[in-house]
Symmetry: C2
Subunit: 428 residues, 2 copies
């Protein structure tokens, strides 16, 4: 094929601008690799008069992204506006209805409407691809969908929100409180307009739900993700975890178990010497575990102009090369409705609590654990500095329900001040 | 398409058996993902009567892999015999001549004949794919060819021979000499029949040459790889390197420079806290650096039945899905003949030598370095235990030629006992 592949780019923020730059600067390379020129026909964004550092005057302008998607000279809609509904969804639907392929970086839209959009795309013979929606520049959608296609996938894990990992590692290295680093990150522009998307784990949970769909051949089920953000992580936990050979990460885990599909996005302790435990700053890491391939670890930049634009281009160039793969790796109509696991797989837990300085206090806590069937792997009581003393406990593997029963029992002892912190220890 | 994709498997060793198992056990999954059944029509191996732990009686048997490749009921030749020439090459050529696709794990064959075979395949409209030839279960060929297709690749690095990394890490953790670990690895069956393929770096260099071709759009040029094995690494160097915050890895590096294409496979020092420096045992790691994506790190099992079979299946399932990508990412005829860089990029170097116990000895060594234009970053002289004292030097960045001049100058001082050890420090 030597017919050009013509793009319509909706959204000219960081990523959209990055895509324009690659198309302009690497034209020869892209043609050499795909066998056909890749061109931009038209663009759309909220503001037209803004210096984005790239030449746009040769491209048609559309105020309305739906009109962009419907243009005769657009073969592929590159949707980079974001937002789960509104213009992004409208433009995507319009493109699909017109039989055009869509490449998007929009994790929220796909996490909520992926099934419908994928079905519509397949019915229309259009491709709908989203490499850039998950873990930025890391080609993880491709690795999972195609690279591990011969595997029954056993587990998918990942640190997929760079901002959260930045905050956690910055707290650790600076000995800083969550609130202080949050403000710092905000001042640096690292946070979304609605920061709970980041620190609440929602953004990362969107990504996890998309990977789970591919991994297990199930419909995207974002609402079933057990979700907990990093807002309640204290520097004390980070330091105590480190002393015991762990680090705290906002970790997503998806696995198919006898109890159903388990999807969790929550702070976890991971061994400090594991690949996940060694991850610093804004970097992302995804771990794919297949029955044949074993454990594959992928690390790279999870955000930013270049990395995300690279992922967008990966999908665009697949289309230019004539590569057609179902959105979630198999026909959308064949994806099973997953049964969410009601309970998470048993795990070890880290507990931190403040114990009152009373005779027999520790014995009562230990008794509460024992009565709930939770046994202790390691325990440390520190010297009293106030009226209470910090106590750390690492449990043996137990179901979360047993732990919750123990926590209730502990509260009833009257010797534990406030609410104990309980964090899952993930085997990675 | 619901027509089955029919495989002919040539070679029923570990990997071939692994492929048979996946096709047999995961039939439903493979059909769901590709939209068509994947079947085995015929197999071929050196010995027919051997229990391989899999049922083969429903497949036709061919003694001659060329006959297997030519069978009417074979759509894809899966070449898992190995060997750069002989039956592997003959069968591959026969399949291509018959217009059939070929999936191979044969790095030696492609490193030496990749250009000819890729050109023949393209002329015949056949696919020739080799995911399993590089880094076992890690989908690195796909990540580089497709995932990073929008990038100008800047550098590709990798620890791609698990046996060498096993030997080096085992030496380190056991405080053992190279010879002892070599014997141990041999007894465990970790080494190739010709162990220089592993420890001499040849196997890893084959893989590097294949990745370089994709990365830089150049013809495979295995003979231009600057090659050095791990046979001369001493436990003293591993320990001294560690004390200075480095680890020794058999590292492959390919980069396009103003001086031409640089391809090196040699022991290097890398920072102990880098991803490459943290790699343990038989695991492989590949680092891809693109101008847009930045640094992508991929880690996984580099060998073994499951991982390698997983990679083979990745190519097979791509073909089943109708995915056609040029062998080296762009038409073979468009690959440029690379100009090999005559000299490697400047680097820091680690030097270890035995210095005679004479007044002014250290000054003379320092003078030899200075005269060659090599300046010292760090230096340590240890206490004399024999007639000589170990001296370690880390140089500032300098060209290899300057270092060689300094080494000649040192030899002329008459105060250095034997030959100094010089190992490149790679910036990773």
């Amino acid at each position: 094929m030597t017919t050009p592949l013509r793009l319509g780019i909706a959204g000219l923020g960081t990523v959209g601008t990055g895509v324009v730059k690659i198309v302009q600067r690497r034209a020869g390379l892209l043609t050499a690799r795909t066998g056909r020129p890749v061109e931009i026909s038209a663009v759309s964004a909220r503001t037209r008069d803004k210096d984005r550092g790239v030449r746009l005057q040769h491209y048609a302008w559309e105020d309305d992204p739906v009109a962009l998607a419907q243009r005769d000279d657009v073969d592929v809609l590159v949707e980079l506006m974001g937002g789960s509904d509104g213009p992004a969804k409208a433009a995507t639907e319009a493109a699909i209805a017109a039989g055009k392929d869509v490449v998007t970086a929009n994790k929220a839209m796909l996490a909520l409407h992926g099934q419908d959009l994928a079905e519509a795309a397949e019915a229309a013979g259009a491709a709908l691809r989203f490499e850039a929606a998950v873990a930025g520049g890391i080609p993880v959608v491709k690795a999972l969908t195609e690279g591990l296609a011969g595997n029954e996938v056993e587990r998918v894990m990942g640190v997929m929100n760079g901002t959260c990992n930045y905050i956690l590692t910055r707290m650790e290295h600076g000995g800083l409180a969550y609130e202080d680093v949050f403000e710092e990150a905000n001042a640096l522009g690292y946070l979304e307009a609605d920061p709970t998307l980041d620190v609440g784990g929602i953004d990362a949970a969107h990504k996890l739900a998309l990977l789970a769909a591919i991994a297990f051949g199930t419909r995207v089920d974002f609402h079933a993700v057990e979700l907990e953000g990093i807002e309640r992580i204290e520097i004390a936990d980070i330091e105590q975890a480190r002393d015991m050979g762990f680090r705290i990460k906002l970790l997503g885990v998806a696995q198919m178990t006898g109890r159903g599909l388990e999807q969790r996005m929550a702070p976890c302790l991971v061994p400090a010497d594991s690949a996940l435990g060694q991850l610093e700053g804004g970097t992302n890491m995804v771990v794919l575990e297949g029955d044949a391939a074993g454990q594959i670890v992928l690390r790279g930049a999870g955000a930013g102009e270049g990395p995300t634009a690279s992922a967008v281009m990966s999908d665009v160039l697949d289309i230019a090369r004539g590569i057609r793969v179902s959105t979630f790796g198999q026909p959308a109509s064949s994806l099973a409705a997953p049964t969410p696991a009601k309970t998470a797989a048993p795990a070890q837990f880290y507990l931190r609590m403040e114990l009152q300085d009373k005779p027999g206090a520790l014995a009562r806590v230990a008794a509460a654990l024992g009565e709930a069937g939770v046994s202790i792997d390691r325990m440390r009581q520190y010297r009293h500095t106030r009226a209470t003393a910090p106590v750390l406990i690492v449990t043996h593997k137990c179901p979360r329900e047993a732990l919750d029963k123990a926590l209730t029992g502990m509260a009833a002892t009257g010797v534990v001040e406030g609410q104990p912190v309980a964090i899952r220890i993930e085997e990675v």
